[in-house]
């Protein structure tokens, strides 16, 4: 294997990655069909609903025609799909603005929140996971197990409520709603984001920490670890040089999963802190039954989730030397 040219060495993984990309795109296509079927076809007649009970059947038929609702479902789906892919999912029914415009205002906010939460949570999750794994079965591990088990089961609004009570009401340190000023100073920026990031972080740290522990423990049981121990490798070196590189696959997978958990949490957290992000936008779209907006938000979340899983898969493939031999 040392004799093969570098290009040939990467051919195997490249093919695997290409397969994953195609599979992810195909899944996204199926997901779009599911979302359109649920939100576009099943809920009954939008024309009927817009006009209310008093409308005559001629009026309804005219509006149905105008809205294109009288065409076959497949045609409507394909047209919707083309619009979404083209980046123009139509007009928001409630705001009377293009959906694309509304989303482009909100999306960066959610990305910022997600990025900050990730930056904040991942180091803690590693700390929890590694500490737990190396003290397996002992008191520290058991205490962390119970703590994280409780943390994953806490509803976000309880964590948020407690955080607001402590930091805004009692200590008066942080604002209870998240308003990021134009051109914030670093201090203002941190103050604005501290609470939503902490609240979202609780779940992510717990969940990711547990999965990192499991991934490391699965490796610790393998023969090479025994070998390294017998060789006299120190605990620190064993974890960082031997075990972690081998556990990269499961760990990046766990990261993708917990980041998708972050979307769910963001729905609650953005609403509580009146943060103008995509998740709270989607909640508004549900309340006002603004289907074009809702569909676009749902597709963005699903596409991001699939992208995260794809990245995790790719990293796992590239990190696995056994697959690198072509």
């Amino acid at each position: 294997m040392s004799g093969t040219a570098p290009a040939a060495r990467w051919r195997g993984p490249a093919r695997l990655v290409a397969q994953r990309v195609v599979l992810a795109l195909f899944t996204l296509l199926l997901v779009s069909a599911v979302i359109f079927t649920i939100s576009g076809l099943l809920p009954g007649d939008a024309a009927q609903e817009l006009l209310g009970q008093g409308a005559t059947s001629e009026q309804i038929a005219a509006l149905r025609h105008e809205m294109g609702l009288d065409r076959p479902a497949v045609v409507r789906y394909l047209e919707w799909l083309r619009a979404i892919i083209g980046g123009d999912p139509g007009m928001s029914l409630v705001a009377n603005k293009p959906v694309a415009e509304i989303i482009s205002e909100r999306l960066p906010n959610t990305l910022t929140l997600a990025a900050l939460t990730t930056l904040f949570s991942v180091p803690f999750a590693f700390l929890v996971g590694i500490t737990s794994a190396v003290t397996r079965g002992r008191t520290t591990d058991r205490a962390l197990n119970i703590l994280t088990l409780a943390m994953v089961a806490l509803p976000e609004f309880l964590v948020a409520t407690i955080a607001v009570l402590v930091f805004s009401v009692k200590l008066l340190w942080l604002p209870s709603i998240t308003i990021v000023p134009q051109d914030p100073t670093p201090g203002e920026f941190l103050r604005a984001y501290a609470m939503p990031v902490m609240v979202l972080g609780v779940g992510v740290i717990a969940q990711l920490g547990r999965m990192i522990r499991a991934a490391i423990i699965a490796e610790l049981d393998r023969p090479y670890v025994e070998m390294a121990r017998l060789k006299g490798v120190s605990q620190r070196r064993l974890i960082f040089r031997h075990v972690l590189p081998n556990a990269v696959g499961p760990i990046v997978n766990a990261m993708a999963l917990s980041l998708s958990y972050l979307f769910g949490g963001a729905i609650i957290v953005e609403t509580i802190f009146s943060y103008p992000g995509l998740a709270s936008l989607m909640v508004n779209a549900v309340t006002s039954r603004d289907m074009p907006l809702l569909q676009a938000c749902a597709m963005i979340f699903c596409a991001t989730y699939l992208l995260l899983v794809l990245i995790a898969d790719t990293v796992a493939i590239l990190a696995n030397p056994r697959l690198r031999q072509g």
Binding site: A150, A153, L154, P155, F157, V286
Partner: protein, 273 residues
């Protein structure tokens, strides 16, 4: 019954705590409304967001209603609807998983593909789309909660069932000429109950959190009915004064979900290690 009690005795402290919380909430869900001091909808206190007192153990809410009474009736909705939803989700998910395990290859292929598609929609997003499309009457809400967690249950149950269906004793039964229904229900299902129950418990936690989250957003249970999440929502204006009316229902939900989690963890750990 005896063996159940013995199993409960063997649980570690955290498991006993979890079991205690779970039993407590089951009892509250069943008996709560009968022991509530006041009707949940009646205005009994002039003072809103009152603190704890002898007459109102958990104080009063934003309209001067008794928080304890509302919590007792809200718990019935939270526990009851979630239990029904998880039962539906597990029946559909596990039923389809058994079909996939003992049925023809193409059926497994189709079921697995479609569930893989559904599982790649984050569950809260999926639930929001369903609520937007169908609204949230009690029946539809329960179905939506169930439907959201069918794919997850299917995935776990299928991998358990497929593993079992390949074992020799199932092959023997197949060679004996037993039908597929017999294989699924008599040979496979009983042997996957234990891990399946752990999964059902976890999904129950997810469903409680999802239902509470939806109600908290105003998209779940609609007034005048109120589950624990609705109680948190309607009292958000009391947050600034740290009112019991908002903290009590939120803590109630957490004690239920944490309790179930601790119990499952303790019950499965003995097996794993």
């Amino acid at each position: 019954m005896d063996s159940l009690i013995r199993a409960a005795r063997r649980l570690p402290l955290s498991g006993k705590l979890g079991l205690g919380l779970v039993v407590f909430w089951i009892v509250v869900a069943i008996a709560g409304p009968f022991v509530a001091p006041y009707p949940p909808g009646s205005f009994v206190n002039e003072e809103v967001f009152a603190g704890s007192s002898g007459r109102f153990l958990l104080g009063s809410d934003f309209l001067g209603r008794d928080v304890l009474s509302r919590l007792l009736s809200g718990a019935r909705f939270t526990v009851g609807l979630s239990a029904i939803a998880v039962a539906i989700a597990a029946s559909i998910g596990t039923g389809l998983a058994l079909c996939a395990a003992v049925g023809p290859r193409w059926l497994d292929e189709i079921l697995s593909r479609s569930m893989d598609t559904l599982i790649s929609i984050p569950s809260k997003i999926f639930a929001l789309v369903l609520v937007a499309a169908f609204g949230s009457s009690i029946v539809l809400l329960t179905l939506i909660l169930a439907l959201t967690y069918v794919p997850g249950n299917f995935r776990i149950a299928r991998s358990l069932a497929v593993g079992l269906a390949r074992l020799d004793y199932v092959e023997v039964a197949r060679a004996r000429g037993e039908g597929r229904l017999y294989l699924a229900l008599v040979e496979v299902l009983p042997n996957m109950m234990r891990p399946l129950f752990a999964d059902i418990g976890l999904r129950f936690v997810f469903i409680v959190l999802l239902l509470s989250g939806l109600s908290f957003l105003g998209l779940g249970l609609q007034p005048p009915d109120a589950d624990l999440g609705s109680l948190v929502r309607e009292n958000t204006s009391g947050l600034a004064e740290g009112a019991l009316a908002i903290i009590a229902p939120a803590v109630a939900i957490a004690s239920l979900t944490v309790g179930v989690n601790l119990l499952i963890d303790a019950a499965t750990q003995g097996k794993a290690e």
